[in-house]
């Protein structure tokens, strides 16, 4: 029995000590938590920090994996949840459907400075079909056609681009005319739109309509023959992945490369003479997908009692020219604010931005998740070389499958 008593006493003593030091609820301090990814943490800290200092709010920026920012919102614990997140516009549909982010209203003067497609990218239709804004667009990115001006000229037409590419390819073994990562629906979108393909149509109110799937639309199918000829001539191959494409271009073995502003530094350092343009019009304009990054206010801001502050930071401050200029200079992306955009002086960045003219923001509705897989597969299959699937079949099937998945 003795040992039991001893143990009990020991235990109770320690428990008593512990009970006396129960965690007290932390005092309410005006603080705001932001989730940002590794690329943006530093710039967000600076810019949001400046706002915080002006308003007397402590801003904490937590670094998280980019994809996890969206996923973890569903399951995060209220005490550690963010009030504001930095994310991609194509998350909006899912986040809105899950009630994770709250609607914002911006002043007319602020919204006048943001291109309407960027605002649309961050909007999602409500029950009445009216567009509701959920985020403040801050940066734009899109792929462009990078031309190695030493070996090729800026193409005047699509046919010109193809002939220049083919000629360069024939010049030496191991040369590529045009390199695009194979099987990648995002990078191949300019080709897709150039053939009059689209992903989702719009309804009467201008909202994306998941019932109107454009992947197998008649115009695209009629033009699909072009793809087969590119495959036959070896112009494009799905065996070329991102790394191979990049290496080939940087080694001077490719005339044209389709990539985005994240490669700006690499291009600067490469010593190559390049010019970036939008891919020339084929049967329709060869516009790229637009990616818009921005800030959103989460539903947790309300629970934390900082909703009005968060709305001010996101809906008002982050849309201003000063904030956006600073963010874009640190991140190498074109700012959404038109005044700030006019002030960029980095040549490559300007050219990438210009290459995005008329571009289509990636659809932000949840149904988009059914698209990437099949569209990517179609691209893989059409550029397989000898045993490639005819493009018409590939795209028609992809369209059918996507429709079936969306249900």
């Amino acid at each position: 029995m003795k040992k039991h008593v001893a143990k009990l006493v020991a235990g109770l003593t320690v428990a008593a000590f512990a009970a006396l030091s129960l965690p007290t609820t932390s005092g309410a301090a005006a603080s705001l938590r932001i989730w940002a990814d590794a690329d943006r943490k530093a710039s967000v800290e600076k810019v949001a920090g400046a706002w915080g200092k002006k308003n007397g709010v402590t801003v904490t920026v937590v670094q998280k994996d980019f994809g996890k920012i969206r996923d973890d919102l569903k399951t995060v614990d209220v005490a550690t949840a963010p009030d504001v997140i930095v994310g991609a516009h194509d998350w909006v549909g899912e986040l809105a459907a899950n009630g994770s982010v709250i609607p914002l209203t911006v002043s007319k003067s602020a919204s006048a400075k943001i291109p309407s497609y960027a605002l649309d990218a961050f909007s999602y239709a409500n029950a009445k079909g009216n567009k509701v804004l959920y985020g403040a667009p801050v940066a734009l990115e899109n792929v462009g056609l990078v031309v190695n001006t030493k070996v090729a000229k800026v193409p005047t037409s699509f046919a010109d681009m193809v002939s220049q590419a083919t000629a360069f390819q024939k010049k030496a073994a191991g040369n590529f005319g045009l390199v695009i990562p194979g099987g990648d629906a995002y990078h191949n979108y300019p080709l897709f739109s150039g053939l009059c393909g689209y992903v989702f149509g719009k309804d009467a109110k201008g909202n994306l309509n998941p019932d109107d799937v454009g992947v197998g639309n008649p115009k695209l199918l009629a033009n699909a023959g072009d793809v087969d000829s590119w495959n036959k001539s070896g112009l494009l191959s799905s065996k070329v992945d991102y790394g191979i494409a990049k290496n080939a271009f940087l080694a001077g073995k490719a005339a044209f490369w389709v990539t985005g502003p994240w490669e700006k530094d690499t291009l600067d350092k490469s010593g190559l003479k390049v010019k970036i343009v939008q891919m020339p019009k084929n049967k329709c304009d060869s516009v790229p997908f637009l990616g818009v990054q921005g800030f959103m206010v989460t539903k947790f801001a309300k629970t934390h009692g900082v909703e009005s502050q968060a709305r001010d930071l996101v809906g008002s401050y982050m849309l201003s020219e000063g904030a956006q200029t600073q963010l874009s200079s640190e991140n190498g992306r074109a700012p959404a604010n038109t005044d700030a955009a006019a002030k960029i002086d980095d040549r490559l960045l300007k050219e990438f931005a210009a290459a995005g003219k008329g571009g289509v923001p990636m659809p932000n509705i949840p149904e988009m998740s059914s698209v990437w897989g099949d569209l990517g597969t179609a691209w893989t299959n059409v550029f397989k070389g000898a045993d490639a699937t005819p493009a018409k079949t590939a795209f028609r099937t992809a369209g059918k499958n996507i429709k079936a998945k969306i249900g």
């Binding site: 320690v14 512990a18 899912e94 209203t105 003067s109 998740s369 893989t380 299959n381």
Partner: protein
Amino acid sequence: MTTPFRYRPSWLAWLLSLFSGTGGLIVKIVLLSLLNAMVGWAIIVLFAQDRLVWALGTLVVLAIFDFVYLRPNKLLPAKFILPGSVLLIAYLIVPIFFTINTAFQKYSTGHVLSKEEAITTNLEQNVVQGEKFFLMTPSRDESGALVLVLVDDTTGQTYLGRASGLEEIDPASVEVDEFGDVIPPAGLTALVGDELFGADAELAAFEVPLTGGGVIKTEGISGAYDSAPGLEYDSARDVLIATDTGVEYADNGRGSFVSADGDELVVGWREYIGFENFTAVITNPLVRAPFLRAFVWTIVFAASTVLISFAIGLFLAKLLDKPKFRFKRLYRSLLIVPYAVPGFLSLLVFKGLLNDDYGLINKLLPFDVPWLFDPWWARASVILVSVWLTTPYFLLVCMGALQAIPGELVEAARVDGAGRWQVFRKVTLPLLLVVVTPLIIASFAYNFNNFNNVFLLTGGGPTSSDQSVAGATDILISYTYKLAFEAGKGQDYGLASAISIYIFFIVAAMSASGFLRSKALENMK
């Protein structure tokens, strides 16, 4: 019968033997007291957080612990098994129950919230914004009531917004400073600093009623806009009603508000839907069609990987199994290298090496093989890479097992005139299998669910044009992933959970029959 081991008095063994006797008793008392103190503390915290069920549950577990460990010489097996079991239950069994629970729910994009949250969110998202936007400064009047000082963004008209209504005031009494902030007229003090933070909730919820319906709401700390509700909630009848058209959206019992026309509101909630997720596998053609194909391929993949790895591992072990074989140690260390590299990294490397036109392997071979692009070659690639990753494990296992087979048995068989191969088949192999079979079965089960090996190498592809969800190398678990996260509206945890449960039953049934039929559990009657 010789005992096949020798007692090795190493420092580790000496250390362990210290724990016997009185030393052990002291350690036991100290550990048990610490455990009680820490868990006791946790229970107190749980009570303080109002989580009575958890608190009681933890208390029960603690009581079991104390009960088991304080009774000398009784409940011996329990004493030894309890620590591992508690962890097993906490982090393996409880999650399984969670998953089972999820399988019975509609838990997917748009069905994540609770019902109340869904209603609030729907109301919020359907607020109709008017034409006006105001610059705003929140302030308090002498009575302490919240008053909004408003300046119309476009017209410049100035107002005071109170809980009672809107009042137009003389523009001259209001200034806008160089920062764009509105300075309230005399008699009102602007809210700043700590007061502003404290008033956050009040400010966000504040509404200025307008004649003719509608309200002015705040947007942040410096803006406001006019609005009207687009949806209203009738709690008595549990319907959402559109204010302009009068269309009613009723609860459809499956986590959504739906109108009579079939218009479904996007924001729904998690709701139990019985066996729907389970029957989807049988009824939904999108799900059903590739299921069988993926199922067959999964078995082929797992079985081939394990059996080939075992065969190669055994072969190499046999080669090395020679007394005084030169470089034995060196060979062993080198052959283990695939095991030392983190699996997913090896997979990424192989993905690059197997690239048709630019990968190293095709460059070294005299002919080009479409490793990852042709369905059949892709299947072969996946198996080959898995074998590469698994063989070292079986090599280790077989090396140990071969060593343990007594040499005298083999000698005796040879003396009786058996040939080398016969000795292997009739003597060595059976003894080996007694030991290794459970490991083979366990490895089979592991590879059955080996999402990584397949997904990182081929992404489940290549997909032929006519197949929708499952690619040529998709195993059941990667197929589940695609179904749940890359179809419909994405992120369908309910469906994924249901299919996971199916997968579990399949693999457990196969493994259980394997274990029971092998003699491995024989000596455990």
